[in-house]
Amino acid sequence: MSNESLIQIENMSKVFYTDELETHALTNVHLEVKKGEYLSIAGPSGCGKSTLLSILGLLDTPSSGSYRLNGEAIESLGPADRARIRNKEIGFIFQAFNLIGDLTVYENVELPLTYRRLGAADRKRRVEAALERVGMAHRMRHFPAQLSGGQQQRVAVARALAGEPAILLADEPTGNLDSKNGEAVMELLRELHRGGATICMVTHDPRFTRYADRAIHLFDGRIIEETHERDAEVKLHQSGFDLAEAAG
């Protein structure tokens, strides 16, 4: 992990307006993520963690506050520039994998690269490398429906990696997986982190916060606690949760 900031969020709020109701999803959030850091965002349902991840991933815009990604101010960018940054700087890993059913594994992984207008040879090299990295190179001609959930999520990780983004954003990446496959995906993310990847992961499962360098805890749209790896492990032991048992 370097000392260089990749994400800097200052005083950010997000308000949703529905009919005559105002819902404060995020309130005065301050957050900094260093390059190479592995951050976990935790909290109960409805606390605002997915909203925060969506804003980090440029899928949504804050109501107020500032957001700099890799030194670039994001608030003022138009849709095309936001799409460009999403494509180059951000890799998404979704809870529901979100692979495209009509595309093969290879084509799914290749998709973000085609939007970057890369040449065919370059795309091929990157796709193969990404699939090798997640151990799915042997399934590149398969369609998503022919894969298990764990394999589909590996492909989704490969798709996020292929563009060599500045940051991987994972939204409950194990949410649709059984514990064994979930553990495997988390191990994969840890490996990626060890290889230098910056990762922001939303999870409500306390077992997986231990994989991160740092965890922030949200409640009612505010960061109420920030813990580091060592603290998280201590907390888990204190609650009597047996990691070995959970891993099966």
Binding site: S54, G57, L59, D60, P79, A80, A83, R84, R86, N87, K88, F92, F94, A96, F97, N98, L99, I100, G101, D102, L111, P112, Y115, R116, F143, P144, A145, G149, Q152, R159, G163, N176
Partner: protein
């Protein structure tokens, strides 16, 4: 039965809940079914329904095959020989169309169309008169007191439906005639005539001692076969008779063959190809409509997936579900059929109003029982056609698989859209086929409209008169009438020239005569060439704008009793005189007026139709070959407005002179294209309807695709796809379908449009310009139709879309 009623009740309720869907589906089908009903009413009346005569299949119309042409015209002696010699016929009748003025004191003479017929016609047709009778054999002889049978229309309109009309005398034509019968409403004979027939007079009375030669062909002949006789037997007999006549009278009959064809077939032979093409075209529109509604049903089936799954789960068999869905689709099509019928009643009125006069049996066109049955059957069939695929697809439920798919985490595949895509491809292909057909007709029409007829049809008006026998009895008087009329017309301010001819180009009538060239061996019997023949006045060529290429036109010096002169057309000179100087050469034309000297060569014109190439023509001096019928052509910058002035000018010569018609040359030319224009308009309307339906089809499937792919679009956007990428994705999918549709459509059109060859002019059925233009038009319109939903796709919020279920 109970189950069916239950299904029907449920179908009504179900459609009532989905009013928007039902309205779109019913309207789409109503237009298609309405168009089919309207066109079928024409096809049924003209091609399918039997003629309104007794045992119509036994009626045969005779024609004559001459070495150079075929005509439905016989000479009196040949007709008489057939009647006497043919053993397979029960009766034979001759007829000839005619026109006469009905005179009554205090009312302007009114022209009526009628026919001279022999007495056998009445029992042969087996139509009972409304009043009185047809004329008898005794009355149908030369020298007998003139008699007439009149139409119900004339009886009602001109005689106030006088119940005592029988036995009264009317002034019809030159001599008073005794009315012996009134025919029932709707009776028409001859059937092929463009005008309604209002009177029938005796043909036998006109035929003094049956003295006409065998070369004078002017009568139609209709026969009724004996009950046990076949057409083949009669034809064999006719061939034997024609060979016998050929041997006995070789001068007029060498190479002549008599032919028989069922009256109905002969009547409709000209319009049959066009009607078949139209019926195919309107069938294609219905198929496109079916494809559209099938697509709507498929989309609806996706929405009703849960309902159908529940029905399956509680024990409904697949057949039961298919039946329920089919009841819904048939109910839809029946409602559409009812609305279509309403649209068709207006459509039929419009069709009849727009249809050119020469279309046979126009008066029989209407919504009758066969048409109603057709619409009913077509509606049921349509409901099954467009309902079957969606019903089969929707009934194939697999709950377990559906649940599994929902948890898989990949977007729904496009495989489910294959049926819908195939339907859109089919719609595009059918539209291409139809539009190519319409395009070919349009290009033909444009070409034909641009054909130079060889004369100047602009700024000229024609006045059609027939000089009265009572006032102008002799040839001398007719020539005087012609000269004085030209003088009167020439004196009208603005008129630059005046000419006269007994027939005008594109006027739907012509005379042709065979001829020999003096000084050369006569052509062998049966091989004499023919040429058109028209009697013209001085000033005719100048007024018509027909150039005189050599020599001179007919002039005032070509008087009666002087040297008989003729101006020949360029084609005549080239074809029969080659490089020889035609001036001074002499021709003997078989019109009975002897030898004429060629004094000029005129430019070629298209006389009979714009489609036929110019042919050899004789222009003789009217003063030397007088005719009672005269068509004066007046050239003036304001020609179109001169009608009333021309009428007044002619009435200065004869106060009671009836005027047969006043039309500009431009109108005459335009009317000669009426049938083609009618066909073009109908095909274009159908093609436009097909295109609209196809565009709606593309739009609806792309809209549905965007809705169905919202999640996928969201994923793509989250991965960095920009608006243009999404636009390209959706439009690209549409264009792929359109591309396949166009390719299939072009292949179908390449084969199918060959049947249109007879309807085309100046282009082939595979005209590349038409094919390319239509592909371009459909491609462009499809692009626009798919752009709207594609643009909507770019507005998808990726955040919402990713969570989209």
């Amino acid at each position: 039965m109970n189950n069916l009623l239950h299904d029907l009740r449920y179908a009504v309720r179900s459609l009532g809940k989905a009013r928007g869907f039902a309205a779109v589906a019913i309207l789409t089908l109503a237009f298609a079914l309405g168009a089919n009903t309207a066109i079928f009413s024409v096809v049924s009346a003209i091609l399918l329904q039997p003629l309104p005569f007794e045992q119509p299949h036994e009626l045969m119309l005779l024609s004559v095959q001459y070495p150079a042409f075929t005509a439905n015209a016989y000479s009196w002696p040949n007709y008489r020989d057939i009647r006497r010699q043919a053993k397979t016929i029960d009766r034979a009748a001759a007829y000839s169309s005619s026109q006469s003025f009905l005179y009554a004191s205090g009312i302007e003479p009114e022209r009526f169309s009628g026919a001279m017929v022999t007495h056998d016609l009445w029992p042969m047709l087996g139509v009972k008169p409304l009043l009185g009778r047809g004329f008898s054999e005794q009355e149908d002889r030369f020298g007998q007191p003139p008699v007439a049978v009149i139409s119900e229309t004339m009886w009602r309109r001109r005689f106030n439906a006088d119940p005592t009309i029988i036995g009264k005398q009317i002034r019809l034509g030159n001599t008073p005639k005794t009315v012996v019968g009134v025919m029932p409403p709707g009776f028409k004979f001859p059937l092929g005539s463009a005008q309604p027939t209002d009177f029938w007079t005796s043909l036998g009375q006109e035929n003094e001692n049956e003295t006409d030669g065998r070369g004078a062909i002017w009568m139609g002949v209709l026969v009724r076969l004996k009950d046990n006789a076949t057409r083949q037997q009669f034809q064999t007999e006719l061939t034997t008779i024609s060979k016998r006549i050929e041997q006995q009278f070789p001068e007029e009959n060498t190479g002549v063959r008599f032919l028989a064809e069922p009256l109905h077939d002969m009547l409709v032979s000209d319009v049959r190809p066009a009607l078949i093409v139209l019926m195919c075209a309107v069938g294609v529109v219905l198929l496109i409509g079916c494809a559209n509604v099938a697509n709507l049903l498929l989309a609806r089936a996706a929405v009703r997936h849960k309902e159908i799954s529940i029905r399956s789960a509680i024990g409904a068999s697949r057949g039961r579900i298919v039946r329920q869905l089919l009841v819904e689709s048939v109910l839809l099509s029946m409602l559409a059929g009812a609305l279509g019928l309403l649209l068709a009643t207006w459509g039929v009125d419009l069709l009849v109003a727009l249809a050119p006069a020469e279309i046979p049996r126009r008066e029989a066109i209407g919504i009758d029982r066969p048409v109603l049955l057709f619409t009913l059957a077509l509606s049921v069939l349509t409901g099954i056609i467009f309902g079957l695929a969606p019903a089969l697809s929707a009934s194939k439920t697999n709950l377990v698989e559906a649940l599994k798919e929902g948890s898989r985490g990949s977007t729904e595949g496009r495989r489910r859209n294959r049926v819908r895509s195939a339907l859109v491809v089919a719609e595009i292909a059918l539209s291409v086929f139809l539009l190519v057909g319409a395009g070919l007709l349009l290009r033909s029409f444009v070409r034909l409209s641009g054909v130079d007829p060889g004369y100047n049809y602009r700024n000229a008006i024609a006045l059609d008169v027939s000089a009265r026998t009572a006032v102008f009895p002799e040839d001398e008087n007719l020539v005087q009438f012609q000269k004085r009329a030209r003088e009167q017309l020439r004196a009208i301010p603005g008129v630059t020239s005046v000419g006269m001819a007994n027939h005008l180009p594109l006027g739907n009538s012509e005379n042709i005569f065979s001829f020999n060239i003096v000084g050369r061996p006569p052509f062998p019997d049966g091989q004499e060439p023919n040429a058109g023949f028209v009697a013209v006045s001085p000033g005719y060529f100048e007024t018509m704008g027909i150039p005189i290429l050599r020599g001179r036109p007919v002039t005032e010096q070509d008087v009666r009793g002087g040297q008989r002169v003729v101006v020949v057309s360029e084609s005549f000179a080239r074809q029969y005189l080659g490089k020889e100087n035609p001036l001074g050469k002499q021709v003997e034309i078989t019109d009975g007026d002897g030898v004429r000297t060629i004094v000029g060569v005129a430019g070629d014109i298209r006389f009979v139709s714009l489609t036929d190439p110019p042919k050899p023509f004789f222009y003789v001096a009217h003063s030397q070959s007088t005719t009672r019928r005269m068509q004066f052509v007046v050239r003036a910058p304001n020609a179109a407005t001169l009608g009333p002035t021309l009428r007044t000018a002619i009435r200065k010569i004869d106060r009671e002179q009836p005027i047969l018609g006043i039309r500009t040359l431009e109108e005459i030319r335009s009317e000669s294209l009426a049938s083609r224009r009618f066909m073009l308009v109908l095909t274009a309307v159908l093609a436009a309807l097909a295109l609209v339906l196809a565009v709606v089809g593309i739009y609806s499937i792309m809209s549905y695709t965007v809705t169905q792919r919202t999640s996928e679009i969201g994923i793509r956007m989250s991965l960095g796809a920009e608006a243009r990428d999404i636009l390209r994705l959706i439009v690209g999918q549409a264009l792929r379908l359109v591309g396949i549709g166009i390719a299939v459509g072009v292949l179908v059109a390449l084969v199918a449009t060959r049947v249109m060859t007879t309807l085309l002019y100046g282009i082939t059925a595979t005209d590349p310009a038409t094919f390319v233009s239509i592909c371009f038009i459909i491609g462009s319109i499809a692009l626009i139709a798919s752009y709207v939903p594609a643009n909507r796709a770019t507005k998808v919020d990726p955040l919402v879309a990713i969570r989209y279920d």
